[in-house]
Amino acid sequence: MNDVRLLDSALVPEAALARFGQDHPAAGGIASFVGKVRPDDGVEALELSHYPPLTLPGMVALATQALARWPLDGLLIHHRVGIMQPGEPIVLVAAAARHRRDAFEAAEFAMDHLKSDAWFWKRELRAGTWHWIEPRAHDHADLKRWK
């Protein structure tokens, strides 16, 4: 029902979405989101690290929560770890549902939690130096929508 993965090599959203659509032929709609490394701000590379005992289990729990909250046919969460170049996909979320509002909400819910409530640590390479990315106040505002 759910398809939750950590990937240490290229994430190809189109291929994953095509498969997800085939896996849920009865869903009236699929809402999805692809997040990419922004090719601006002088960022030369992004590295995501994770902690295996927590990160994937946390993502699986997130998917289970979404499925309990909205009537979904299925939820897909694919997240990269490792070093990525500007323009590369970092995350793909897709929600299949009978009604489009449910699909949209579940996909946004998953994205908001992945962005600020999942066990990932990020650093950016700028001008040849790695910089760790701190939490942002804005992320917590995003999470409050779902309380």
């Binding site: 997040g35 690290s49 902690y51 005992p53 927590l54 289990p57 992945l114 962005k115 600020s116 409530d117 999942a118 066990w119 990932f120 640590w121 990020k122 650093r123 790695w130 760790w132 990315i133 701190e134 939490p135 942002r136 804005h138 992320d139 995003d142």
Partner: protein
């Protein structure tokens, strides 16, 4: 008689390694004594969470790890 300490995110940079063995048993007091310099400061003051064998403990002060345990030090996760 040892415990595996795992450093995540910027703590791995400060520690210079991603993991280290320390003597068992380990509580929050002996852990913060064990880590010195910038690493010790970051752990003591830095909103760190602690996981023992893959489970985050509710209060760092309740840390009580014994031989064979894996203790992970988790800085705040990065924003989106």
């Amino acid at each position: 008689m040892s415990i595996k300490l795992v450093f995540l995110g910027k703590l791995a940079d400060l520690a210079g390694v991603s993991e280290r063995e320390v003597d068992a048993p380990l509580d929050w007091g002996s852990l913060t004594e064990e880590l010195d310099g910038a690493l010790g400061d970051a752990v003591a003051c830095g909103k760190i969470k602690v996981a023992v064998n893959g489970t985050v403990i509710p209060e760092n002060s309740a840390l009580a790890a014994s031989d064979g345990d894996e203790v992970a030090l988790l800085p705040p996760v990065s924003g989106g």
